[in-house]
Structure formats: structure tokens, C-alpha cells
Symmetry: C2
Subunit: 343 residues, 2 copies
DNA sequence: CATCATTTTCGAAACGTTTCATCGTCCTCT
DNA sequence: AGAGGACGATGAAACGTTTCGAAAATGATG
């Protein structure tokens, strides 16, 4: 900018005024300056600007896994929203690891991001410290946490799983396996609760041996399924609490030589685009990813627009059970599957 | 830092020296400074540091689509590599749009990223300008471009598709449809070339009506498949040049009432984790995503480490044909599929 | 004890912007 | 004609670091 000012024989203040439109500059100087900018190929240095302005027009976004289609979709939508608003997005993957997440968020805050969207934080204390420490607005995604007062977008996990399990019960299933993610993360907690309540509502016993915990990865789903299928009285249906784990479940039942839905019914959380073109077409709980992403982005953009003091807003969205053909009516002949799909 | 210096009754220069270890500071002052840092909860301002140092320890990464599993995997691996090296990654999705990509890269350069990894750039001229303008190292991913001399990691797309098509020919297919992405992007160009050469090598005619172009999205695959299947002499096999498009292909053949592989054989580019648990299990060309991501990261990290003047390095990796059960031997009874899989 | 070498600390400039108070100029109004 | 306003342009300070040369303190040596 100094060079531009010299070349145009004006002061840097005038150049700045022209570029930002913060003051009127005469046509004559404008022309000289613009020419100089072109000649020199000047680009404003965003770092210096950020330092002076105290704003980076960048937000931080952390997700557990970018390979999980659910998060991929959400990230993509959030990206687009901030793109439109002229913000850049700094993405970090925490790999479901608390320390990593802590490091990442610290990194982001050090870089003076203007705001933070944090998906699926693990530990309440860490989370609380983050929200308190950061003097920037924070939006929580897919995770609610007692005592942490900030904008939040979550799914009604409990009722979503309740509906899914109830559907299985209605099909005649009595022993339903459940594969959960780590229990200390609220969505996982709520999903298990939905499972238990559905069984209780149907007057069925809740048996601990039917509930397994994993760490969200495919291999966890695989191992958990193997355990469930080696029970002496094995379940006739399995519900898996996330997408990567259900892949593990499918691999396990394939390796054990069973087939779905003939031998075992499968349902899971999180829909994916190809779920109705391959067999079995999985019955899933679809999250409204578009809405989740947009709402989270809107909440943060609203804060960034200056609405700092409004009380924390907590949004809860509803999931939707997508019934396909991976669950069969128990005791009914196989031919009945087709009918059940139209249910 | 000023506050810390005051609280510890030292100069800011000394605080800086201690924090960065750029000079020895006496145990006594060190102790006072560290205490002050703790008391105040001081965090170094990375923006001011970047301004002074001329380096942000941030790299930019652009990909066409984050929802394409291939790019998701690559992004994830690149992320991890730079994470380990203490760099942050700024991710941008270009949505296959040239203007968007241009804007994104400009945005990244304005923010003084230390380096750039650009996946799948569309236009040669734009690309050349980017590489020339940016006074930071640039690594090209999944795209090679005449006249642009910079580090590059690409797949040997041509031979990968050649192998896949040859496999289909060996199964007895004579009319093989091909669904390509935009022709002006080198991988797409090379893939089509592989297709043509495989047919020619087998002495088969290359018919234009069998080659369709789309813009990488599911809907493009759907439309292209519909067109291919409405030909009066329709193909017995279809190869789709990327992952989202093959989903469209599968939906089209489902909607038309055909089934795979009985009525039509399907193969595609890009493997995905669930491809061998659902039916049909797609025969795919798997890219070595791990290697691609790591190599790209290594090339850039090497430049960032100071190796600026080495001549551009061009890495070409090999794809691998993953034969599953979505292609059937033509003319043979259906039972023969199982045998062909072991081929 | 004076001198010199070495270690430790510091003041001040610089990075590239934005912003604010100030200063000319020129116009308008009494 | 002189005063007052409006407008355009500018100099300089500030943002929070790093760094360099210089100053101060310490230790060693003759």
C-alpha cells in the first residue's frame, strides 16, 4: 500500500480511504490510485488488516471425523453459508480425541477466529472452559452440555431412536441389539435412552448384554456385532448408533455368514445418499443435515453481526425414520418384507 | 505481552525472548515472567506474529467437493499430516466452479497462507496465473497441466481405466458405455483416453454415442445413464468416471427396472469403504488415497521447510482394479459370476 | 583496581494496515 | 470582504509481535 501511495503520489491514508470507501476521494486521485494498484498488482494484506481491526473474518469449525458422511454434509453446508457471508472456514478434525480437540480449538483461538462452531465435544469441563475462555461466540453442534450456556443445535436423538426401536418392536422383534458410541457424549446418551424407553414402553426387558459401546469407528461396530451375534440367544435385530459403525456391522454379519434382512434386521442412525440403491437398503434415522448446518451457521452469523447479548438459543430438530428393506417382520414369511416397506 | 512485561517488571523484548527461546534469560526473570503469564492468562497473538514474521503456519487446500468420499479421504490425510507438522489447514470447496475456485484461492492468498494444495483445477490459464502470482509453493493434486511447472501428484488415470475396460472386454462386453466428467480436466481426459485405447486394443469400435459427459454430480450420472439406456442398441456395461455419478447410474437402472449385474454391468472410478458389504458390490478402480494425501503433504512440507529451488517434482501413482460382483461375464449363465470374481 | 570479554536485558524500529484529528482549499452566506 | 462550513487529503498513532544493535551487568584477567 505504501508503494501504491508513492506511485500515485498520495498518502497511504488516501489509498486506504479509497479501497474501503470510508471517505470520499476526488475522481482525479481515485484514478491515479486505481491505476497504481493495477500497475503494481497490489493486494491488501489481510493479516495486517486483521491485526488492526481485531477481526479475521474467519471462523473455526471442529468435527470429530470428516469421513463420516453426516459431518461431511454438515461441513459442506456450513462452508457454503459462510462463504456467502464472506467468511473463511478453518476446519479441524479431532478424531474423537479430547486432547486433540483441545489443541485444535486452542490453535483456532490463537489465530483469532471470529467465532467457533464445535461439533460433538466430549468433556463438559473442557467445553465449559472453551466457551468461557473464548471471547468469541461459540455454537455447539450435535451436543448439549449441562451448565454450558451458549447457542446450540441438536437433534432430538431420544425420540428419533425411540421411533426406530418401536418400529422394530412392531415388526415383532423382541431381542434388539444396540451398538452405541461413547456414553459420555450427549447424543449417544440420549440415543441409548431412546432405545431403553422404547423397550420399556413395549413392556420388554432391557438387557445389558444387548447394549455394546464402541468408539464410532467401523472396527468398533464390527467387534460389537461379533459380540452380539455370539450371545447364546442372539438378537434378531441390531440398531447401530452411527454410520461408520454400521459398516462394521454389515461386515461382521457377512463374515459370520448371515444375511440381512433374512437372518438379522439392521437399522442405524444417519442416512446416506446411496442407501436406497444398494441391497440391503438400510432403514435409517435421517438427520435434517441441511437444516442443522444452516441453523448453526445462522446462529453464529447472527452473533457475528453484532447480536452478542441475546440469551443462548437452543435449537432441537427432529430426525426422520427412513423405512427401507433391511428390517423384516419377525415370524412372517420373507415375502412380507415388501409389504412392510410400504408401512 | 505488554501486560505480562509490566507485571514481571521486564521489557517486552525479554518476554518474547523467553517465549521463543531466542535468547537466554536468567532463571530469576524467567520465573517472574512465567508466573505473570499464568496470572494474566496470556496467549500469544498469532496474527501479530504472522504479520511480523511473514508466515502464518497455515496452508490452503481447495477441493471440488467435500462430499465426494475420495476427496474426503484425501483431505483427512492431508489434515493429519499438517497437524503433526504444526500447521493449520484452511479448506475451501470450489463446487467444480471455476470462478468460485478463483475466488477461494484469492481469499487464501490474501490471508497469507504459507502454501497451497489445489485439487483438480479446471482451467489451465487460471491455474498458471495462480501458480505465478502466488509467491508461495503450490502443489497440484489430481490434475496435471501443460506449461504449469509445480509439484504435482496425479494418478495414472489412463492405464487405470484401460485395465478396467479391458476387464469388461475380457468378460465379453462389446458395447460399453462410458460416463465422463468434464473433458477439460486432465484426469477426465486421461480416463476417456484409457477407455478408447482399451477398446482399440481389443479391436472394438469407439462409438461416440456411448460416451456421455456430466459435471460430476449424481444427477449427471443419472441423466447420462438414462441416455445410454435409451439407445436402440444399449450397452451391456457402463463405466462411470467418479463416485457421485455412479450413484446416479445405480438410481437410473433401478428406476428403469433393470438390475445389476443381471441386466447390466457397472464399474466405476473411486472405491468406497462400504463397497464390499452392499449388493451389488461394485467393481471399482481404487485410488491409493493414503499415498496421494501423504505425498502431496510431503511435497509441500518439503518446500515449506526451505527447499524452494528444487525443480518441480511430478509424482504419478497407480490405481488398482478392485474386482467384485457388479460385472458379469456376457453370454455366460448367471452362476458364472462367482467364478469371475476370483479372476 | 582497571580493563576487557561475556552474558543478560532493553529500547526502538518494523511488519501493513486503519483511523482520527488536523490542515488546507474552496465555496457560500451575511 | 470576512467568517464559517463543507470537503478532500494527510500525518501520525496504534494493533501485538519480533529483532537488532546498544546498554548494562557480571565475571575473568592482568
Amino acid at each position: 500500500m505504501l508503494h501504491v501511495a508513492e506511485a500515485a503520489r498520495v498518502s497511504v491514508a488516501t489509498v486506504s480511504a479509497l479501497i474501503n470507501g470510508t471517505a470520499t476521494v476526488s475522481p482525479e486521485l481515485s484514478q491515479r490510485i486505481e491505476q497504481a494498484i493495477l500497475d503494481i498488482g497490489y493486494k491488501r494484506n489481510a493479516i495486517a488488516r486483521s491485526l488492526k481491526m481485531g477481526t479475521t473474518r474467519t471462523i473455526g469449525l471442529t468435527v470429530p471425523h470428516i469421513t463420516n458422511p453426516f459431518f461431511t454434509d454438515v461441513v459442506s453446508i456450513i462452508q457454503q453459508a459462510f462463504d456467502r457471508a464472506g467468511y473463511a472456514v478453518m476446519l479441524c478434525c479431532t478424531d474423537e480425541d479430547l486432547n486433540t480437540q483441545d489443541d485444535q480449538i486452542r490453535l483456532l483461538l490463537d489465530r483469532m477466529v471470529d467465532g467457533l462452531i464445535v461439533a460433538r465435544v466430549g468433556d463438559g469441563a473442557i467445553l465449559k472452559r472453551i466457551v468461557d475462555d473464548a471471547n468469541v461466540p461459540v455454537v455447539l453442534l450435535d451436543r448439549v452440555c449441562e451448565g454450558v450456556d451458549t447457542d446450540t443445535v441438536v437433534l432430538d436423538n431420544q425420540s428419533a431412536v425411540f421411533d426406530a426401536i418401536t418400529y422394530l418392536v412392531d415388526l415383532g422383534h423382541r431381542r434388539i441389539g444396540y451398538i452405541s458410541g461413547s456414553f459420555d457424549i450427549s447424543p449417544m446418551h440420549d440415543r441409548v435412552t431412546g432405545y431403553r424407553e422404547a423397550l420399556q414402553a413395549a413392556g420388554l426387558p432391557v438387557e445389558n448384554e444387548l447394549v455394546r459401546f464402541g468408539n464410532f469407528h467401523e472396527v468398533d461396530g464390527y467387534n460389537a456385532t461379533m459380540q452380539l451375534l455370539s450371545l447364546h440367544d442372539r438378537p434378531s435385530a441390531i440398531f447401530s448408533a452411527n454410520n461408520p459403525m454400521v459398516i462394521g456391522t454389515m461386515k461382521a454379519i457377512r463374515d459370520i455368514g448371515l444375511s440381512c434382512p433374512e437372518d438379522i434386521s439392521i437399522a442405524c442412525f444417519d442416512d446416506f445418499p446411496w442407501s436406497d440403491v444398494f441391497q440391503p437398503q438400510l432403514t435409517t434415522v435421517a438427520q435434517p443435515v441441511q437444516a442443522i448446518g444452516e441453523q448453526a451457521a445462522n446462529l453464529l452469523l447472527d452473533r457475528l453481526a453484532g447480536n452478542r447479548d441475546a440469551p443462548p438459543r437452543k435449537l432441537t430438530l427432529k430426525g426422520r425414520l427412513m423405512i427401507r428393506n433391511s428390517c423384516r417382520p419377525l415370524g412372517a414369511p420373507l415375502g412380507a418384507i415388501a409389504q412392510s416397506i410400504s408401512a
